[in-house]
Amino acid sequence: MAKVVKIALAGEGGQGVQSVAQIMTNAANDEGKEALYIPNFGVEQRGGVSIAFCQISDERIGAPKFEIGDIVIALSDRAVVRTQQYVGPKTIFIYDASIEQAEEYLPTNGAKVLAIPALKISKEELHPRVFNVMILGAALQATGVLTLDQAKKALEKKLGYKFEQNPKLRELNHKALERGAQLMQEQLAGK
């Protein structure tokens, strides 16, 4: 059977995890892959942890949600706690390095637990608003489901009208994507 890459993204409302999921799965679909994306939704949606379940494969996908992710990304302290349940022995767990006292709650059963300073770098080097695009870059680097060029095409589709008005935004988003991928690459290489 074809391998299905399962990615769970979790963060606070407003951190843009659902946008990342949408751009990523749209891009996969545009490349002719099968993709399935479902947000968690419920009465906790306002002010709660927002989770996006994404699956990408070469063949049709089964259940919309999954028990264990290949990649689980948590972007806030509550998200770290909440996403423990999606971690298994083969899971790569990624969290933002700025989360205070994260180590108390980090999963201990994953294959790898990696911290990336995406929030810090987005603030200091880029712009806080492209934080989620850095996460997209990191997720793609970790999974290899899409190339950065394919992701850029998807960004163009979603934000092209804004890029037209302000070409610097395009540059900023591309940088964020590449920087996110680079951070992940460094982490995976154990640097």
Binding site: N26, I38, F41, R60, P64
Partner: protein, 363 residues
Amino acid sequence: MAKPIEGEKRAFMTGNEVVAWAALAAQADIMYGYPITPQNEIMHYWTRLGPKFEKKFLQTEDEISAGFTTVGGVLSGARAFTATGGPGNILMQESISMAEMMRIPTVMVIQQRGGPSTATVIYSQQEVMLTTHGGNGEGHRIVYSTATHQDLFDYTIKAFNTAWKYRFPTFVLGDGYQAKMRESLTIYDPEMRGVKMVPTVPLLGQEGMPGVDREPSLLRNTFNTEEELYAIIKDYQQEYDRIAPELVEHEQFACEDAEIVIISHGVVSRSSKMAVHELRAEGIKVGYFRPITLRPFPADDLSGAIAKAKLLLVVESAEGQLVKLVRQNLYGHSILPIEGLLKPGVGVTSEEIVDKVKALAAH
């Protein structure tokens, strides 16, 4: 005016959006509705897309009204539909009972959420009994249970034709997962695929003098005598039994030599399908059966599919609603034991099904 969909194209969208596109492709005239999660975006997309094609929408004060206005729209000859879920589905049973009694071809899309009562706005398969047999009647209705976005598109279009051809209320039974998730499908102009829409006609207020120029429309939901009602319900049952073989639909594979047959419907059947492929690869003799119509139920097909089986496994996101339908429809045809993997209000993954089958096969 341009067609909503020219030719066909690949799309990647939510299930609710799929339903709105399908209703447009089916040339529906009007949607009546009242907001409830997880079906809200059907209304949102319909109101966004509809006006470009001179389609109408009426938001009512509640689901009782949304159901009855749908009935009213259909009476006037409009290809009308509504969508709801959970507590809204309960409130609509009153109008659906009227549609059953008067043979009004309503179309309703149900996106199941957790129950009973408000429960969760998220997902379940707990509206099976309600949708197939709700109301104070005999369940003279047609229910398609969809599993994929392609199904949602195909069967929403089909529901209009089934309703108007057979004149029984027709349902598309989806769920919150299908409503909210995005996946790929092909949307198309039905005509291009050779699907002709069954013409709609006013059931009330037709031209000419009733009994002279045309047959009178006898639309009644009130009867003075028991015998009158009895005769009509018997007549409906006979008609329903007659058309059932034309209506039943199912999907099956790997059943020929299967010792365990997995029975599931809707979104859960996706997991069953993957589980059967995986188990077969390991040499375990397991088969897949999915009723697409839950009402009428493909009883004969199921009997055939389980001919070699020693055990049936029903998998559903409910505490035995599909089990009830299976038992009822197999009674007299099979004495096989029925096991359940019953998970009310939550999804079922293929891994869970694989584990369950292995545990059963080991005994």
